[in-house]
Structures are given as C-alpha cells and as structure tokens.
C-alpha cells in the first residue's frame, strides 16, 4: 500500500488549511471566547512538547532503550508537580515584568545585554538540530507513505507554509506581550489531533495484530523477552540523567517557555495544567509499547522510528495511515511554529535591536513587527538549511537529546533567578559559557563530524569509559559540572551592581525595600517628551497612555508617588516591546530619577502592602502570623466608624479609611499619596489647618461641604517612631487624625430645641387661653343679656358685632387650648379605612368656597387600614388640603396618593399652586407663623398637623417651589389591610 506524492501533498496542504481556519476562527471570535482560556486548551497547547520525537521517535527509542523513553515525559511531570514553587513564581515574574522569553528573563535578572545575547545565540544553535529533526521526520514519513524518495521541494514547501502560519497568527500584534488566542487554540488543536492519532494507531496495533487484550497477553507469554527488553535497559541506561534533562526541558525549551509563560492567557489554568498536561503525556505514551510489539510481531520493513506510520499501512488501513501521517505533521508543525516565534522574539530583542536601535523618527512599532516577521522566515530557513546540511545518520532521539542537554545549561541560571539572590552576572555568564564550550566539544562537534561537515572532533570515549558513563550521562555530567562550578565560584568572587541587586530582589520576591527616588518629570506630558527623544513622539504618547490606562491614572496626575509607579509601569510595558535591558536603559536615560529624594511613607507602605499581598500564600511560621496580625489591624482601621487619616512626614496622606471616604466623599485612591493641602475643598483647608494648629482637639467644627453643613470633632496625635524601625527615620513619623462626624447629633439637638420651643409656646398659649377665655366668656354673657334686654336697633347691631368678635376670640382660644392640651394620651387609637377618611376630608374641604374651585383627586387602595386617632388625622388632612386649595388657582388639581410604604402608610399631597418661599419653608411648623392676611389664619394649622403626626410616631416633610407647587409627604407607622372576605362583602 502506498500513496501518490500529489495526494500526500494535497492531504498535508488541506490539513494546514484547516489549521489556518481554526486559528482564524478563534481570532475572529467565531468560536466561543471561553475556549482559548479553558484549562484543557492550555494543557493541550503545552503538548507542543511532544514533537515528532515523541510521535515517531518514541517507538525507536523504546526498541533501543526500553522504558528509558518514558523518562522524557516523567521528568516533565516532576517539573509540573513543582508548579507552586517553580513555574508559578516564573509565571508571576514574566507577567509582572513582561518578559517574553528566557533570554528576557536572564537579561532582566542579571541586568546584562550580554546575557541576553549569549542565551539567544546558544538557544538558536541548540535548537536548530531539533528543528532539523522535525523536517526530517516529515520528509521521512512522506517517503514511507509514498514508498519513494521525498523530493526536497516538499520539505521546503512545508517550511514555507509554517512560515506563513507563524507570521499570520503568531506575529499579528506589535508586541509579544499581547496574547495570540488563535495560535493557542490552533496548537491545542494540533495536540489533540496527534493524541487521538497515536491512540488510534495503538488500538490498531492491539486489535489489528492480536485481536484484543487476550491475544496480546498470549503473545507476551510466548515472548517473555519482549517485556524484558522494555525493563532491562532501565537499570543499565541513563535513566536518572534523562529524567533531569526532561525536567529542564519541560519549561526551558523555547517552545515550552513560550506556551507556559508568554502565551498564558489565564494564570489560574497553570495550576490545572500541572496535572492535566502530564496526564495527556501519559496517554500519548500508553500506545508506544503496543505499537513497538505490533511492529516486531508483524516484522515491519520500516525503521522502528516510523512504526507508527508503517503499522496501519501494513494492515492496509488507508484512512488510519493518513490520520497517522496527519498526526506526525501536527507534531512537527506545532513545534516548528512555536519554537520559531519564541526564537524570533529573542533574536529581535537581543540581537537585532541592540545592534541597530531605530532612530526616533522611524516608526518603532512597524519596525518591530516586520523585524519579527523577517526573523520568523530566517529562523525556519536556518532550520531547513541545517536539515539539508546534516547527514541523516543520527536517530530522531539523538538530535532531540542534543537540544535537551543544551537547554539544561540554563538550570543554574534559573536557580539564580528564583532562589540564589547572591548570584552575579559574571557567575552566570562564566557558568553558561563554560557549559556551552563543553556541550560544543562533547555533542555538537561529533554531530557535525558524523555529517562530514568537519573533519575532526575530539573523542571523549576514554574519559567516558573511565567514569563508566554512557554518552548522555557523560555529556550532562560534564556540561553541568563545569557550568555549576563556574557559576558558584565566580558568583562568590564578584559583587552585584546596584541595578542587578534590585532585579535579584524583585525576582526572589523577598525585598521589602521600596524603590528610592522621585522622577524628575513632573507630569505624564513630561514623560511623553522625555520618552519621545528615544522612541519618537507617537510611540511615546501611546506607551504613556497605555501605562496610565494600566494603572487607572489620569493625564493630570502629578503626585510623585504615582509618577514613580508610572515610570515602573512604562519600563515593564517597554520591556514587553523591546526587551528588558533596552527598556531599562531607555527609561533610565530619558526618565531620570532624583535619588536624593526620600521615599514617601505612603509609597513605602503601598509597596510593602503589595509585596505582602503577592507573597501571602508563601509566608510561613512567624511571618505568616505577623502578616495575619497586620491584616487584622489594617481591617480594624478600615472598619472603624470614625474617620482616620494619617499623614507622613511630608504631610502626604498615608491612611484614609472607609469612614473618612464616606464622610468626605474623597475615595482612597484619590487621597493616598497626595499632600494634605491638595485634597478637594473644604477638606484640604480643614485638615491642613488642623495639622498646623497647635491644638490637638477641635470640637464642633462646622464644615460647609456643599448642600448641607456638617459638624465634626477633630483629634490628632503625633506618631512616634518607637518600635517602627522598618521606616528608617530619626524624626516623628507623622500625624494621625480622628474625625468624628457630629452632624446627626447636631441635627437631633436642633430638633430637640425646636420641640422644646414648641412645648413652651404651647404652655404659654394654654395660660393665655385660660386668662383671655374667662373675660371673653363674661363679655359674651353680658352682651347677650344686653341684646335680650334692649330692642333698640342700633344697640342691637353693636351687640351683635360684639358677640361676633367674642365668638372669633373664643375660636382662637379654643384652637390654642386644643393645640396646648392635645397630648397623645387623649388620642383614641383605632384602625380605620384610609380611603374613607380621605373621602371625608375631601368632602369637608369642598364645603369651603375655595375648595369648590379646585379639583381634588385621590388614589388610595380601598383595603388599606391606617392606625391612629381617626378624627385627628382627618383634621390633619383637612388642614393640608385646605392649604393646598388656598394656594391653588381655580381649576387646578390637587392630588392625594396613599399606599403602604416601609411597614407604614405613605401619604403624599401634590398641588400646583403658588408654592412657599424658601425662607418661609423653614418656619412653617412654628406656631403663629402665617403668610395669610390678618384675620384669615391663626398660624396654628400646620403646627397642629406637625404635632398630631409626631404624636402618632410619624414624619412629615414639605418640599415646595415657588409658582410650581408644593409636595407634602407623610409617613405613619402601622398598616393593616381589610381581610379579603370583609373587603369582598
């Protein structure tokens, strides 16, 4: 069975087209957004680790080395088991400082462009054999499928397609700091294809060759040497060495670093991938022994490296053969694409840009984008060139392991990044260069010699035999021994520079010393001007805008603390764009720091708090308990029902608690770090004045904060430095203010005074009524007698007038008596229908002349029952409605709306009359205050209403606008409903 070359080409081309479609559909949002962020997608995308080596080469590896082939995946499991202490800190670092490759990480940690260059070059050389391996696997698989020699043009076509894909979906954005969701989903798709393909080939082996597990067991019993061939090499081969190499490769290979850290869309997915990715690797490797035995049992005439393809072909399963071939293409293309993207980013940041940083007038974004695209093409073509140069005498595994030993040279450097703060740039470079030199001698030169590219390579056989190590054990041991020794010795002999020390502390997350100094640029505008001299005005404006938006700051920001943060954010963002070292140099040159300025206490505190927040889960023992205690104290301050504000030595605001946010209306983010005088008025004036005042307490200070005045008590105390050694200072640490809001208390007191005033007027009125009432009664009696005894018309008329006037006096006296003696004890509380009471009130008002001219409308549920003295409440309603009618013109409408509100009854009366002047509004509940002409009002109506409502435990509130009308709102406690049956009847 074989396939024609054009058919194979068509299949491969169609599959690549499908891959384009998957990536394009994701980028266009045709697929659900959650797919790219899903942990399964992330874990599958990490399976880019499994290349042609796994797909095809594992069987060959198993034939030669038995179960040693599993080490390449078990070692990865070790690295991912250590996710919380190894991968998570690296992810945190790369995200925080926008480091997009291993070269970025080392250049950042060791503050050395040379480190970046060496890592990039070594990575390039170390990975080229691996890329050549992928191309070889693809061309070889085509040869097996077509049973004829694969033309080189196919390999070239494969490389060209990959270049196109990598440029279209891996270099879409200007900066690698932006994630490529399409790429992640496409790589995950490729991994799923190769996983399924390998499992299908495994099942083909199981059922096609032996008819199931029974047949397999029978065959194994007949061939005990088959299982023995798997187990035996473990005890003889380089088992532990391979575990170590795979451990390093799991996260240090460019493609792994790129997918784990650079393209990680959702950090939480890494925790799940920590076990899901090894599980996928296990499933990928499960069919390998079966395929190997099936190939041996069927005596396939293809090399063991390609049993995966040869087995279904031997059994004439054409569909499965094509699927197996596509799986191989998936494995090779995913590796090539991701590796190329990672290397292109490294080459751009550490080779191209340092060699020729563009003029400020050149568009940096465009140059970066095209630089990356050109580099992608160049790197893939380099891989192709290496493939053409190599004499294909080495197996797939051999080429892969050479790369594995190369990346293992970065392990000491990683230990320096995460754990050994003392390690220095010189130590790292010496160790790495030493390791590289040994790697070249022991592995690269022999590879080139085998390919006839060089005539001579040193022979390490004698040394190897003396140490009784195999090739890989010896290479790993020799390279790492030289590397680690030089790293430790040179690091111990040299000192770190200031910037290197800062970077090492940032990496180890142990530094609690806040960044020192203030930026000389005083505003974001000046940031743009400074930066424009290096990267051009357009880029400077965009980058400053981006950094401001990342931090949630405005363009008007001037606080030194915030500007310092802006500078750091800018450096991080530029690091994602042009690499950490160049970003560091540009920011240092163009946005200078005045290191003489002492770090503000607010800045120090915020820095320490954010560090504690980041490292809380990693704290142990006493540190963890202290951190918990610190959070407890901070929470007490935050939740204290008094306003708390602490000022630093320079009167900048350090603490601003929630109660103070509510009292002042100034949020914490606007207050913290700001000088106290810069607070919005009136708070800036009040607090700065109090800070400079000699008195430590100010009582009942009135603040006009807009609509209503507020009253506050202010207390202050000096913060002594006792026990605060963290903040190095010989002076006091600042001042703390306590602000007590007295506004409610003040309002309550005013209400009490008002009530007392009303009560005293009531008592006075009662006395006056009594004293006036008796003589008036006497006058009325005498006048009646005079009327009865005298028939004279003139006298009778005068007497009638006297009686009329005494009647008026009696009415006033009666009102006064009612007002003063109307205590709640005399009320008769009943439940009554509010609807009926309103009807009655409207009817009574309509009896008056003015009431007839106005239209009264009411809206009240018939079933609603109010609780209170019905007669008094009807009196209230009549009073209010009369007032509304008096204020309205003929034909106006007065509306009454009542319903249950907050467990009571809410009643509102609207009129559209002349309204009440603002200065009158404050006095309308005062007895004898009236705006009506003399003789038409006593000024006791509304005070009476107020008193009755108050006695019922309710509230009344009147709003009015001149010439627009008046709105009265009453609330009475207690609400009932007429039972349904009564209501129905």
């Amino acid at each position: 069975m074989s396939f024609d070359l054009p058919v194979i080409f068509f299949i491969a081309f169609s599959y690549m087209l499908l891959l384009f479609l998957v990536a394009y559909a994701t980028d266009q949002g045709w697929l659900p957004a959650g797919i790219a962020k899903h942990p399964v997608t992330f874990a599958l995308s990490l399976c880019v680790y499994a290349t042609s080596w796994t797909y095809y080469g594992s069987v060959g590896f198993a034939v030669n080395q038995g179960y040693n082939f599993l080490t390449i995946y078990i070692g990865v499991s070790f690295a991912f088991l250590l996710t919380p202490v190894l991968l998570m800190p690296l992810l945190r670092l790369t995200r925080e400082y926008q480091l997009t490759s291993l070269a970025d990480l080392f250049a950042f940690r060791y503050r050395s462009q040379t480190a970046g260059i060496v890592v990039t070059l070594f990575m390039l050389i170390g990975v080229l054999p691996y890329m050549a391996l992928q191309i070889e696997a693809v061309t070889e698989s085509i040869s097996i499928l077509s049973k004829e020699t694969s033309p080189n043009v196919l390999a070239f076509g494969f490389c060209a397609t990959l270049t196109l894909f990598a440029i279209l979906f891996g270099a879409r954005h200007i900066s690698p700091r932006e994630k490529h969701e399409g790429l992640v989903v496409a790589i995950a798709f490729e991994s799923a294809i190769k996983l399924i393909a390998l499992l299908v080939v495994g099942l083909t082996a199981l059922f096609g060759v032996w008819g199931g597990f029974g047949g397999l067991n029978e065959w194994l019993q007949q061939h005990p040497e088959a299982v023995d061939a798997l187990y035996r090499p473990v005890t003889e081969g380089p088992w532990r060495t391979l575990l170590l190499l795979a451990f390093a490769a799991a996260f240090l290979l460019p493609r792994q670093f790129h997918m784990i850290f650079t393209e990680n869309i959702e950090p939480r997915t890494l925790s799940i991938a920590a076990w899901l990715f090894p599980l996928f690797l296990l499933f990928l490797n499960l069919p390998i022994p079966l395929i190997m035995w099936a190939g041996q049992a069927s005596a396939l005439d293809v090399p063991a490296d390609y049993y995966v393809l040869g087995l279904p072909m031997a059994q004439d399963y054409s569909v499965i053969s094509v699927f197996a071939f596509i799986g191989g293409i998936s494995a090779a293309s995913a590796m090539m694409i991701v590796t190329t993207l990672a290397l292109a980013s490294m080459c751009l940041n550490h080779l191209l840009l340092p060699a020729s940083f563009p003029d400020p007038h050149v568009n940096l974004y465009r140059k970066l984008l095209w630089g990356r695209r050109v580099l992608i093409g160049l790197i893939i073509m380099l891989g192709y060139g290496f493939y053409r140069l190599l004499e294909h005498k080495e197996g797939l595994v051999q080429l892969g392991l050479i790369s594995f030993v190369a990346v293992a040279q970065f392990l000491p450097g990683i230990a320096g990044v995460l754990f050994w703060r003392r390690s220095t740039r010189a130590g790292f470079l010496a160790g790495l260069l030493g390791g590289i030199a040994v790697w070249v001698i022991v592995l690269l030169l022999p590879l080139l010699q085998v390919s006839d590219l060089i005539g001579y390579a040193p022979n390490m056989g004698v040394l190897q035999d003396t140490l009784q190590l195999d090739k890989w054990e010896f290479a790993t041991f020799a390279t790492l021994t030289v590397n680690i020794t030089l790293f430790i010795v040179i690091s111990s002999m040299t000192r770190q520079s200031q910037s290197e020390q800062e970077a090492s502390e940032a990496c180890c997350s142990e530094s609690l010393v806040p960044p020192m100094g203030a930026v000389t640029a005083a505003s974001p505008k000046q940031f743009e001007e400074g930066l424009a001299r290096a990267v051009g005005s357009t880029i400077a404006r965009k980058e400053v805008g981006q950094a401001l938006s990342d931090l949630g700051m405005g363009h008007d920001e001037t606080r030194p603390v915030e500007l310092r943060r802006l500078r750091e954010q800018l450096e991080r963002n530029l690091s994602g764009l042009i690499g950490p070292q160049l970003a560091h140099i540009i920011v240092n040159q163009r946005l200078e720091l005045n290191t003489g300025v002492q770090t503000a206490l607010a800045d120090s505190m915020r820095y320490v708090e954010s560090k504690l927040e980041d490292s809380r889960s990693r704290l142990r023992g006493l540190a963890a308990e202290l951190e918990a205690l610190h959070r407890y104290h901070r929470q007490i301050l935050a939740d204290l029902p008094l306003g708390v504000c602490a000022l630093g030595q320079n009167q900048e605001i350090v603490i601003w608690n929630l109660a103070l946010e509510l009292l002042s209306g100034v949020p914490l983010r606007d207050a913290q770090g700001r000088h106290v005088e810069e607070l919005p008025e009136p708070w800036g004036q009040v607090l700065s004045g109090f800070a400079n005042n000699e008195d430590n307490h100010v009582y009942r200070h009135m603040i006009d904060s807009g609509d209503k005045p507020r009253w506050i008590n202010l207390h202050k105390a000096t913060i002594s430095q006792q026990g605060m050694a963290l903040f190095d200072s010989k002076q006091t640490l600042g001042t703390v203010f306590l602000l007590e809001d007295l506004t409610d208390l003040e309002n309550l007191e005013a209400e009490l005074v008002h009530s007392e005033r009303l009560a005293s007027i009531g008592r006075l009125a009662a006395g006056v009524a009594h004293e006036v009432g008796n003589p008036v009664t006497g006058i009325a009696c005498l006048a009646q007698n005079l009327r009865d005894e005298n028939d004279s018309g003139e006298v009778r008329y005068s007497v009638e007038q006297i009686l009329e006037q005494t009647k008026r006096i009696s009415n006033i006296v009666q009102s006064l008596t009612t007002f003063s003696h109307g205590g709640s004890e005399s009320y008769e509380y009943t439940s009554f229908s509010l609807h009926d009471a309103l009807e009655e009130s409207v009817r009574l008002v309509r009896l008056s002349h003015q009431g007839r001219k106005v239209e009264c409308g009411q809206s009240c549920p018939v079933s609603l029952l109010a609780r209170g003295d019905r007669q008094r409440l009807v009196q209230v309603l009549v009073n209010l409605l009369s007032n509304a009618c008096d204020a309205s013109s003929a034909g106006d409408k007065v509306e009454i709306i009542a319903d249950s509100v907050d467990g009571g009854i809410g009643l509102e009366i609207y009129d559209h009359g002349v309204g009440i002047l603002e200065e009158h509004l404050e006095r309308i509940f005062e007895p004898f205050f009236t705006t009506k002409p003399p003789g038409e009002g006593t000024g006791l109506g509304l005070p009476m209403v107020y008193k009755i409502i108050h006695d019922h435990g309710g509230t009344i509130d009147i709003e009015s606008e001149v010439n627009r009308g008046t709105h009265v709102r009453i609330w009475l406690p207690g609400v009932e409903y007429i039972p349904k049956e009564r209501y129905a009847s």
């Binding site: 179960y67 250590l82 575990l243 889960s617």
Partner: protein, 65 residues
C-alpha cells in the same frame, strides 16, 4: 484569622515530589523495573502520582478561593 492550614499546599507538593523521586529516581527503580511485573506497572505508578497531584491541586484551589 490565623489559619492552621496556611502554607500546607507547597509543603504537600514537596512531599509528593519526594515520593515521586523515591518511586522513579531511587534504587527502588531496580526492583520496580523488573520483567516479573506487568508491562503497564510504570504507567500505573506514573498515573497514581499524577492523580495525587490533581488531588492536591483541587485542595489547594479550594483553600485559595
């Protein structure tokens, strides 16, 4: 406030890695990788360690929430 569980996650991870090292990188390997055992034994050990890792991750995830 002062949780007894804090910091257990990484400790347990280290114990699991030590267990994995014991199973796969100690002289025990010589005994485990013997043809007397079924061919799938290394896979079973590997799977158990992955599942233990998953269990720890789930517990850690719950504590972090």
């Amino acid at each position: 406030m002062f949780s007894r569980d804090q910091g257990k996650g990484p400790d347990q991870v280290v114990i699991l890695v030590l267990l994995a090292l014991f199973m796969f990188a100690s002289p025990l390997v010589r005994w485990l990788m013997s043809s007397e055992h079924p061919w799938y034994l290394p896979y079973l050990i590997w799977l158990s360690i992955i599942l233990l890792g998953a269990l720890l991750q789930r517990r850690r995830g719950r504590h972090e929430l």
